[in-house]
Symmetry: C2
Subunit: 535 residues, 2 copies
């Protein structure tokens, strides 16, 4: 079984096979010690079997034991999502609040029996996909008496491919690579690549309104969902496969982003695309961040629909792509399965140059699917490699505190917004982590009416004090983006972590309407309580 | 005031100025008589002042009389939407169920006081935009004790234009042309043109999930809404202006399509575009309907995003564009404010030819904004003129029964779906209207995963029996599209007319969730009852 081979690591992002070796960890520790002047040791990785956790507070009925377990290891592995401070707690062997049982239903019938039991008994139910939530979306709430995590890992098949409409019916528990592997022989792709792609699932993408990797036009999972099948405590909710509809508010749009609070997504029909063969890309330098932002605005408003349109501020351009000085880097790219993209990239480059961007003609890379691209990649290639290399946990426990937050704002307010958020963040970072802390930003997604800025920060924490320090910083980030008019999350979801900002930004009456909707399908309020709304 | 100058006609689509003259009506009557062999007279148009209607069943508080009236003419003019059988009833002077009062609030404060009064007193509240509903979306339900229609016609300003983000804050009551006139000097456009455009409002478009005129990519009003401000019986619901967000289910998407059942939309921020200057179009002939459909599928799946991609079946191609024989006509067009569209149209034509379509190179029309287009329009021009000429009521009361219904279906099922729907419709049309009845279809919108077919039928009815005959036909249409897997409406909305199909197609639990949501904002159930759901 592929699940077993690719067992999730409990202390790093990704699978066990992604974990760094002891030698690698030591090397990173030495490099940190050189930089900070303070010696640091990689903490030992505990043996899961040695970790003592709370006894299960419920009894699994005999009939369900084929797929519902109360074994410690399974419960440990489902205690945390993928946020770096959760991984740090796990590395330190702290699993204070594990679920009481973990279900791995292998059929919809087993899923039904699981939910019937759990909802009937009043156990909190936590839907679980890939476990990559970075917003406390899958943790057992503190005040919960009993909780059952429902892992969809065995409901992970591609059930049907409709080549004519270019759509597939897939089970929610399928991981990104498994889905793409199943579609590749058909020449098709979902073309939805969130950064968590290797470890996250279709159900998770739908539940959290995942953003995807592409910068413009159809990139959000919202656009790719043709229909949804979801099990609620009151039974099945299933929408029709429809390419478009104006029949009342979209039922799917109420499920997309519901983060497990309405039910457990079991299947979706997803819209697919032909795999792109035509590609073009360019890396364009700008004298500064705001000049680059103006070029991005003009390119996205020209509706050329680039697959990639990412602006890196000088900090990120330097770190990720080796750009020197105070230049901002715009990485743009086009893709198509059917149409050469040379004219699109040239139109984008022309706009960028008008705005003060520089790139040599020979640095524009155009690939018409012949296998022989023209032009050299330049800064783009360097950046792409930096992006793909995800921090696989080598720094975990070494006193580095780093995190990201992402938002979106309309263009008219962007400059002021960015200044305000950077100001507030610089203050709190200096106060909490000292002057050495870094703050940087890039655009991950861009819309004709505004960008989605993605901020990263990092600094040296007090060993053992990381969580409190992070909390202080995160509170400011939550507060600042919302106070300045943005969204508390653009694609990381709300979970429990973003509630303070979310509770301010969403219309109060929407929250009440949503509570009313939830009550109709989950009358006892067992589905993922505390996420999005209080019961 | 523009509202007064453009007073709505009570018996034809559009304004009084759109009404046909007596001579025009007589000419149409003679032409019908020649065709059917039965003499027919245009019925006299009643004088509104002569029509006796039910006395108002409520008393308007003194303080509200500045904008809430119980005058007969105002109530008459708000009794019906724009469906042809409503216009027929109106022409016959039948206004059995008028609202008891009509409000024309001039400020949000007056809107608040109106809703406070009406909801407090338990009067049914019917939000009213342009009055063009063809689905019984704004009528007083039969079993209602008292009803107040709230016409947004005085809340019709463009309040703010954000040139940087390309967005505008507009009041919901603004009519299409007024909005475009306000945006034109800025070089901007909403570029949303439902067929009702001259007479319908932004609020109506949002409430009914309007489809817009463009065939692919961003055309639905859903895509253009940046935020919504809506007054519910429990107060204001206002979302943030955000270019994108992953923070929980979209609050706006619950309002879009709510058809007045949650509250009264007062304002929206809408995403705008630069006005297109580059255009290209072509009319391509296909040996038959299904061959043309296959070409449409391939073109839309190539993601060239044409503004226009409409396939007309032989019946429509003959009637609307003078195409002879049994050929289907594909009308395609591209538009852009920034990029020449020659290569896109040539790519689309190449696909069409591969699929068996024919067009001479010289018939491809390309306009690069220089004012000198190359190529002749051919069939496209003929079709465009036919489309713009809306039936302005000249046939009203002359015994013609014609109507349309629109749906959407995935490509894999389209051929079978179309065969089934045509079969069921031909049966019922023959039975009810006799052999001379016509049935035809075109695609109004196309998606990579399926088309939105738009069926039209027409025939000769029994004078005085039109409603019953229509009912029998419409029941089959409702039933057939849903039974065959489609949606009961693609862009005409649900209203009360489409409830039988809608109640089958939407997930039952979505209806319950929606009821729960409605209860939270409209506890007494006064907002447009019977539309979408029963209380």
């Amino acid at each position: 079984m592929s699940q077993v081979q690719r067992k999730r690591s409990f202390w790093t992002w990704g699978h066990s096979s992604d974990e760094p070796t002891e030698a690698e960890r030591r090397k990173v520790a030495e490099s940190i010690a050189r930089r900070t002047g303070v010696a640091v040791e990689p903490p030992p990785v505990p043996d899961l079997g040695d970790i003592e956790i709370r006894k299960p507070r419920l009894k699994v009925p005999e009939a369900l034991r084929g797929w519902v377990s109360t074994e410690s290891e399974d419960r440990l592995l489902h205690t945390y999502g993928g946020h770096s401070l959760e991984l740090l707690a796990a590395l330190r062997g702290r699993f204070d609040n594990p679920p009481d049982a973990v279900a791995h239903p292998r059929t919809e019938e087993e899923l039904e029996r699981t939910l019937e039991w759990a909802a009937g008994a009043g156990h909190v139910v936590i839907p679980y996909g890939g476990g990559t939530s970075v917003v406390w979306g899958l943790n057992v709430p503190e005040d919960t008496e009993t909780a059952v995590t429902v892992d969809l890992d065995c409901l992970n098949a591609v059930l049907e491919i409709d080549r004519t409409s270019r759509a597939a019916r897939v089970q929610a528990g399928i991981l990104g690579p498994d889905l793409e592997n199943a579609l590749r022989p058909e020449g098709l792709t979902l073309r939805h690549f969130p950064q968590s792609f290797p470890w996250s699932t279709v159900g998770g993408w739908v539940a959290t309104r995942s953003g995807g990797h592409y910068a413009t036009n159809h990139t959000h999972i919202d656009d790719f969902v043709e229909s949804i099948r979801m099990l609620t405590p009151r039974g099945w909710w299933e929408s029709r496969r429809l390419p478009g509809s104006g029949a009342g508010p979209s039922p799917d749009r109420l499920v997309i982003g519901s983060e497990g609070t309405l039910g457990i997504i079991s299947e979706c029909w997803l819209r697919l695309q032909k795999r792109p063969t035509f590609r073009a890309s360019a890396g364009i330098l700008f004298p500064d961040w705001q000049t680059g932002a103006e070029a991005v605005r003009q390119i996205v408003q020209a509706k050329l629909w680039p697959a990639n349109l990412r602006l890196l501020d000088p900090e990120e351009a330097g770190r990720a792509a080796g750009v020197e000085g105070s230049l901002a880097l715009l990485v743009t790219g086009f893709e198509s399965a059917d149409v050469p993209q040379g004219s699109n990239i040239r139109a984008a480059v022309a706009i960028a140059r008008e705005c003060g961007g520089s790139i040599e003609d020979e640095a524009i890379r155009i690939d018409d699917g012949t296998g022989k691209a023209t032009g050299r990649g330049g800064a783009v290639g360097a950046w792409r490699n930096a992006f793909i290399g995800v921090n696989a946990g080598a720094t975990n426990g070494l006193g580095l505190l780093s995190d990201t937050f992402e938002t979106a704002i309309t263009w008219d307010r962007f400059a002021e917004f960015d200044g305000y958020v950077r100001g507030r963040m610089t203050d709190v970072l200096n106060r909490v982590l000292g002057k050495g802390a870094s703050l940087s930003c890039r655009f991950t997604h861009v819309y004709p009416d505004g960008p989605a800025p993605y901020y990263s920060f990092a600094g040296t924490a007090r060993l053992g004090g990381e969580f409190e320090q992070w909390q202080e910083i995160k509170a400011v980030a939550n507060e600042a983006v919302v106070a300045a008019g943005g969204t508390v999350t653009h694609h990381h979801a709300v979970g429990r972590m973003h509630r303070p900002g979310y509770d301010i930004q969403r219309p109060d009456l929407f929250a009440e309407a949503y509570r009313g909707a939830k009550r109709a399908v989950d009358p006892r309020g067992v589905m993922n309580p505390g996420v999005l709304i209080d019961p």
